[in-house]
């Protein structure tokens, strides 16, 4: 699938076909996409535990559920628990110097081993690692980049995906995650039982609401030809119609199928 079509097709899927297995090969594609994500100091910020619902014991499955996640976790054949590693500074000097040696961090931009050893590590990374707020910020941003790539790779593989919060305390016990991993999101994965397009793209505000040129207060001016091209190429798709009757009918059918409340 073309990249713009993948971006345009992504929806948060909430109704998965619970009995259609997800191929491990496709999960590996998602993990590799995460592994290829941009990352500061070439660190492995993002950590993940892939759980196949039907491989979990009843005890573990129940421990992962909360009154706000039970339906999703029951419907999705795969749940990926994403964490961020707060020990990303460990080994940072060696990794940075490796990038210097490879020319990824070029001398033209001021990168040398002494710069890494004498400035970057002691004056930037080490203090950052001791600042809990800054660490959480860095880990969250960097893990988010990886999670986004995994999510889009899933869409590219024809899967449905959805990010949600989760019961971190319950998950920590049963997944046995180390203390230095901080919880991010769960990514539910499966084949959609609902229309993969979810009735249309979710409402979005125009670019000018959020994006600026030069300084805050000068909104980015949309180029109509680009907008039209993105519509043709699938990044911008028809929004959910104001008349939601068709979507509501679909929800009713899904509720009947899965015995869900209406």
């Amino acid at each position: 699938m073309e990249f713009k079509q993948v971006v345009g097709n992504r929806r948060t899927i909430r109704f998965f076909d619970p009995n259609r297995p997800v191929e491990p090969e496709k999960i590996q594609v998602m993990l590799e996409a995460a592994n290829r994500a941009s990352r500061a100091v070439n660190a492995d910020f993002a950590k993940a535990i892939v759980c196949y619902r039907d491989e979990l014991t009843d005890e573990v499955r129940e421990a992962l559920k909360t009154p706000t996640t039970t339906v999703q976790i029951d419907l999705a054949p795969v749940t990926i628990f994403w964490y961020g590693d707060t020990t990303f500074v460990n080994g940072a000097q060696d990794r940075l110097k490796e990038l210097v040696d490879l020319g990824a961090l070029p001398v033209t931009h001021g990168w040398t081993h002494p710069y890494v050893d004498d400035l970057v590590y002691p004056q930037v990374l080490e203090p950052l690692s001791k600042d809990a707020l800054a660490t959480t910020w860095a880990v969250s941003v960097e893990a988010g980049l990886a999670i986004a790539q995994a999510m889009l790779a899933g869409v590219d593989e024809g899967l449905g995906v959805g990010l949600h919060a989760f019961n971190a305390a319950g998950a920590k016990d049963v997944l046995k995650v180390p203390d230095h991993w901080v919880p991010m999101w769960i990514l539910l994965v499966g084949y959609p039982a609902e229309d993969p397009k979810g009735g249309g793209q979710r409402p979005r505000r125009p670019l000018s609401n959020s994006y600026y040129r030069g300084q805050y207060g000068t909104p980015w001016t949309e180029i109509p030809e680009v907008t039209e091209r993105l519509k043709r190429e699938g990044m911008i798709q028809d929004p959910m119609p104001a008349d939601a009757s068709e979507r509501m009918q679909e929800i009713k059918q899904l509720a009947d199928r899965f015995g869900l409340p209406l």
């Binding site: 619970p18 909360t66 009154p67 029951d74 419907l75 899965f258 015995g259 209406l262």
Partner: protein, 117 residues
């Protein structure tokens, strides 16, 4: 508690309006009300009290919040209830979710079992 007896409760009216089951056939509506009434009898709470049970206030600020533990308690009671009623399979899921529908339409996000049959 009877199905007729609970209809005057504000939370039940809100449920009926939100779920639109005022327009359902009489027997379907009656079934839903009876399930809720029987559950309320089991747990010894009126419908309005059941909703209130899920909502607590923070001691420091007085701010209202939905209690996870209370909702977990309700899910536990629902498991007991469906077992006591002898419901199995999809019927057990659907009927327990009637009670969850009541709570949901009163602002209590609660999820339970799914029929994957």
């Amino acid at each position: 508690m009877t199905s007729q007896g609970i209809e005057s409760q504000a939370s039940v009216k809100q449920w009926a309006a939100g779920a639109g089951f005022d327009h359902d056939p009489a027997e379907v509506r009656e079934d839903k009300l009876r399930i809720l009434a029987d559950f309320c009898t089991k747990v010894g709470k009126q419908p309005d009290e059941l909703v209130a049970f899920c909502i607590l206030r923070k001691k420091a600020t007085g701010e209202r919040f939905l209690s996870v533990k209370r909702r977990e308690a309700i899910n536990g009671w629902l498991d007991d209830f469906t077992g006591e009623q002898g419901w199995t399979g999809k019927q057990a899921v659907v009927n327990a979710n009637v009670v969850r529908s009541f709570l949901i339409h009163n602002g209590v996000l609660i999820q339970g079992r799914v029929w994957r049959g």
